[in-house]
């Protein structure tokens, strides 16, 4: 009975995954066959890969509902019951910092940024200087995401409206753009988008919504969302700050 329900849910998610991925297959197929007018190379391998993508997405979505959402919410409730703001904020920081420092997309961007900086003459061209620059950048971004989640959780506890903080953050970005070294601006803007990984997002969302639900007077829709927004805003500010620090 239980297994049957499980399989039924799996089949339904499988159908959803197929539908979710259809546009990307259509776009790539259309451009390859109609615009570039070339045959699709290694068709078998591509079909096999597509099968993996569909299966993988299905499993991921199932796991989300089974594992990531429940644990994020149950921890939020437990922290709210415990009533210790300090521990909650420490947890928020650890979650933000810990999930970002190992993020593969961030590592790739940091290495690219080091290359840009070496090209522009901001740092030495040798490997050691570049490695330490990339390392510093990664720490700057991870710190900024930790800070962002802490700020976001504090906001949920206190009930501050999200838009004041975001608009204030935008103002910070604009002001810093005027002063930051030119070659870091593009990287800084992009670093906001790459920090929030596929596993972090559901967890952080569940944490925010769970907190907003367990604190009296908070609306999960108004107060529960917004954590990701902070996590994609603060890296811009921190990375530009890092560039200015090195430049000075």
């Amino acid at each position: 009975m239980n297994l049957q329900r499980h399989l039924l849910a799996f089949a339904r998610t499988l159908g959803d995954s197929l539908r979710d991925l259809a546009p990307i297959f259509i776009v790539i197929g259309f451009f390859q066959l109609v615009v570039l007018r070339q045959p699709i190379p290694e068709l078998e391998q591509i079909l096999f890969g597509s099968l993996l993508v569909v299966l993988g997405l299905t499993l991921f979505i199932q796991g989300l509902e089974l594992g990531l959402f429940p644990i994020g919410e149950s921890m939020a409730h437990a922290f709210a019951r415990k009533g210790s703001v300090t521990w909650l904020l420490l947890f928020a920081f650890a979650l933000g910092f810990g999930t970002t420092i190992a993020e593969p997309a961030l590592i790739a961007v940091a290495n690219e940024a080091a290359e840009v900086a070496a090209e522009g003459g901001a740092i030495g061209a040798d490997t050691a200087a570049r490695a330490s620059y990339a390392q510093g950048l990664r720490i700057a971004v991870a710190l900024s995401v930790g800070f962002a989640i802490v700020l976001g959780v504090l906001r949920i506890i206190r009930g501050w409206p999200v838009h004041y903080l975001i608009i204030g953050g935008y103002a910070g970005v604009v002001v810093m753009t005027a002063f930051a070294p030119k070659e870091i601006v593009g990287i800084a803007y992009d670093s906001g988008g790459v920090t929030t990984s596929t596993i972090t997002v559901p967890l952080v969302t569940a944490l925010g919504v769970g907190l907003a639900m367990s604190i009296k007077g908070r609306n999960p829709m108004i107060d529960g969302f917004g954590l990701i927004a902070f996590a994609s805003l603060t890296p811009m500010i921190f990375v530009m700050g890092y560039g200015m620090l090195l430049d000075a």
């Binding site: 979710d20 991925l21 546009p23 990307i24 776009v27 570039l36 391998q45 591509i46 890969g49 597509s50 993996l52 993988g56 299905t58 499993l59 991921f60 979505i61 199932q62 796991g63 989300l64 594992g67 990531l68 644990i71 921890m75 437990a78 922290f79 415990k82 947890f91 650890a94 979650l95 810990g98 999930t99 420092i101 593969p104 997309a105 838009h163 975001i166 608009i167 935008y170 970005v173 604009v174 070659e183 593009g186 803007y189 992009d190 906001g192 790459v194 920090t195 596929t198 596993i199 972090t200 997002v201 967890l203 969302t205 919504v209 829709m221 108004i222 969302f225 927004a229 996590a231 994609s232």
Partner: protein, 261 residues
């Protein structure tokens, strides 16, 4: 079997990605909260699903979609493709010569955003929290339209070489104005949707498009001009999600007014 080895690599990489998160979660659960996790077996099973699912997903993308998508981005930006029909190279390339690049940018932006697992997660949650008022599909299509606009504008910016921060600052102004007018419930979700739209599927393909463009358009350097696409893809979903909410709010009000008459 090279595929099995590749699969194992991806699994290890995903494991390394998940490990710090699991350590933080279980560490705090055991040391600070000091209470057993409810439905521990279900949660662990969920983690295994996420791990295996993400590994399969990434491996499949690596095998099927990324090589082709990246190759396409390179081919579409090459002068040989752009002036294939016209025969002679006109010497000066105008921004209108890149029509197929814009079409590709819009299509790939839209379709990768629809496939993005993090966005699906947030849409499911928003649907639950709003008790169905925010449709999973409505939100995802709104975000995908935003990403498509962002990537297309990003491609246009690289071709024309206009400064990145003009666009970003103008986008912020639109967001701020919309914030004052949009229904209050949607604002935090709209802000969030910017960050979630660029993840595992979108970033590699879009980065390839940006680098291909910056490398092939005369006068652009891939190092200095290749960036900025992701920033655009993060900003525009905020605008389209608030726009979507404003539109449905306005339509609901008009319908109500009609009924009252």
């Amino acid at each position: 079997m090279p595929e099995a080895a590749g699969m194992l690599d991806v699994l290890i990489q995903t494991l390394r990605d998940v490990l710090p998160i699991a350590a933080v979660l279980f560490g705090f659960q055991v040391l600070v909260l000091r209470r057993p996790i409810p439905n521990l077996r279900r949660v662990l099973l969920g983690f295994v699903y996420v791990l295996v699912g993400l590994s399969l997903f990434l491996q499949g993308l690596e095998q099927a979609l990324f090589p082709l998508g990246k190759l396409m981005a390179e081919q579409l930006t090459q002068p040989q493709f752009l002036f294939d029909g016209a025969g002679a190279h006109p010497g000066v390339i105008g921004w209108t010569d890149y029509v197929w690049v814009y079409v590709f940018a819009a299509c790939i932006g839209f379709s990768t955003a629809i496939a993005e697992p993090a966005l699906i997660a947030v849409a499911i949650k928003a649907n639950q929290v709003s008790a169905g008022a925010i449709g999973v599909w409505g939100l995802r299509v709104a975000v995908a339209l935003g990403v498509a606009t962002g990537i297309t504008l990003g491609a246009f910016r690289i071709v024309t070489g206009l400064p990145l921060h003009y666009f970003i600052i103008a986008g912020y102004v639109v967001v701020i104005v919309q914030t004052t007018m949009a229904p209050r419930l949607i604002v935090p979700l709209a802000y969030d949707s910017g960050g979630v739209s660029t993840s595992t599927v979108t970033v590699p393909l879009v980065a390839a498009l940006g680098l291909g463009l910056a490398g092939n358009v005369p006068g652009r350097s891939p190092l200095l001009d290749g960036f900025g696409m992701i920033a655009f893809a993060c900003l525009f979903p905020i605008i389209t999600v608030m726009g979507y909410a404003q539109l449905s709010h306005w339509r609901a009000r008009r319908r109500r007014d009609d009924e009252n008459e």
